[in-house]
């Protein structure tokens, strides 16, 4: 198996920035290296030079590379207890506002956005909510827009949903057809999908809740801090930021202006 070395990885990062303006220099090297090795293997390159020249000369291949090296593993109601806290503690507070804006940053194929829409619907808040869902990868956004997921996943999602405090029959939210589950358009009506790069794009609205779960783990500490400042700039006062179960704002510029919600990976912007 072809493996790239540290120097080659830096060459790729520099070339990609020069040719396409995409900046991967703040990405975690350990993870990025694995992803590039995986790409070399998947696309059958014999060496690094072959990959590099294809990336340079074929913009379509570069796009494919971005799609493959960003991690797009997600599921509905991942970490059910997190969703239980959203359902019982966070959304009821945000729900007192006349209008609710939520941002899913790094939404991948959208499973978390649909999970959120289901929570909002059950709390009778969906009609006054808008869910902005963004990702660096245009391909996954197309999947997310359609709201069609593999039927074989529904058993696990249904279990997650119930563990998160869901009381309905989960199958009531989708129509099964040819091995796929298509989620009700009533859920997606309140979603706005667009491409957004956390590295280079700025704030675009003010939100009551921002979810960015298991995205910052692919960044180094400096880029994590930069993204957290972007979230701070994009949150209304008393708004909430939710991260993945092993992520934290501790030691970041935000730690003094945010208050952690009990022991959850949810922080409230207090000043």
């Amino acid at each position: 198996m072809v493996l790239i070395d540290d120097r080659e990885l830096e060459v790729l990062i520099n070339e990609v920035f020069e040719y396409y303006g995409f900046d991967f220099s703040g990405y975690s090297r350990a993870s990025l290296k694995r992803r590039v090795d995986r790409l070399l293997h998947l696309d059958g390159f014999r060496n690094f030079t072959e990959l590099l020249s294809k990336v340079r000369s074929e913009p379509a291949y570069f796009k494919h590379m971005v799609e493959e090296i960003t991690v797009n593993v997600t599921e509905m109601f991942r970490d059910p207890l997190f969703y239980n806290v959203l359902r019982t503690e966070i959304l009821p507070i945000i729900g007192t506002k006349p209008f609710i804006r939520i941002w899913h940053a790094g939404c991948s194929t959208g499973e978390e956005v649909y999970s959120m829409a289901i929570l909002l619907k059950e709390l009778n808040l969906l009609h006054k909510s808008l869910l902005y869902a963004t990702d660096i990868n245009a391909l996954v956004l197309d999947v997310a827009k359609k709201g069609i997921f593999p039927l074989q996943m529904m058993k696990q999602y249904s279990e997650n949903y119930m563990a998160s405090g869901g009381k309905k029959d989960f199958s009531h939210y989708y129509t099964a057809n040819y091995g796929f589950a298509k989620f009700d358009s009533e859920l997606s009506e309140k979603m706005v999908f667009s491409q957004h790069n956390l590295v280079s794009d700025g704030s675009f609205n003010e939100f009551d809740l921002i979810l960015c779960r298991n995205v910052l783990i692919y960044f180094d500490k400096d880029l994590q801090d930069k993204a957290l400042v972007l979230f701070d700039d994009s949150l209304a006062k008393l708004g909430y930021l939710a991260l993945g179960t092993k992520e934290t704002i501790k030691f970041s510029p935000l730690q003094n202006s945010f208050k952690q919600h009990n022991k959850e990976k949810i922080w409230k912007k207090v000043q």
Binding site: A30, R34, R35, V73, N214, I217, Y218, K246
Partner: protein
């Protein structure tokens, strides 16, 4: 044990295991009182399980068990356990990174993923131990560690509750040591001494 190892300059001891490995760890870790290196455990575990493994290990050892969060510093003298449903990776600046990408060998955390990443960063300063298990995870990682100049130790399959994993490793690479549980303790306790 056939030969008495003299291993110095070890920064990290990484131990991988699956079914039947927890028992070995619970026999091994309580007897280790100090470590001049970091100990990293990558054990296959249920994705729903949260921190019970950490708690179980922590009450059995006097070596501090650090809660692994993304980008925490990897320091000698501590135990780090790969959290459930994440791959555990190593950065060149001695930080740990987490990753939720696809399962490898049906596993997340995968032993191969962590072993390969540790080999890349620590090379000859790495000692890896592969314990009992019923799947092929770990073998490829041990090969990477050997290639990078690290020390490869495999639990003697005869002493493993599930011999498949250590046996698969032995069949596919030349382990530096093949040890039973007692010898494993002796081995680790003489590292850097």
């Amino acid at each position: 044990m056939e030969k008495s190892p003299i291993i110095s300059g070890c920064k990290v001891v990484i131990i991988g295991g699956s079914a039947g490995s927890l028992d070995v760890l619970l026999k091994l870790l309580p007897r280790l009182t100090v470590a001049t290196f970091a100990i990293v455990l990558v054990v296959h575990r249920k994705s729903s399980e949260d921190s019970t493994l950490e708690e179980l290990i922590a009450i059995k050892t006097s070596i501090p068990v650090k809660e692994v969060e993304d980008k925490i510093a990897l320091l000698p003298g501590n135990i780090y356990i790969a959290p459930s449903d994440y791959h555990l990776l190593f950065e060149k600046n001695d930080q740990l990174s987490l990753d939720t990408s696809e399962k490898v060998n049906y596993s997340r955390p995968s032993i191969d993923v962590s072993f390969e990443s540790a080999a890349d960063v620590y090379g000859p300063a790495l000692v890896a131990v592969l314990l009992s298990g019923a799947n092929a995870d770990g073998t490829q990682g041990l090969q990477a560690i050997k290639a990078a100049g690290g020390i490869v130790v495999v639990q003697d399959p005869e002493t493993a509750e599930m011999p498949f994993m250590p046996r698969n490793a032995i069949e596919n690479l030349t382990a530096d040591y093949i040890l039973g549980i007692n010898d494993l303790y002796e081995f680790i306790s003489t590292i850097n001494i």
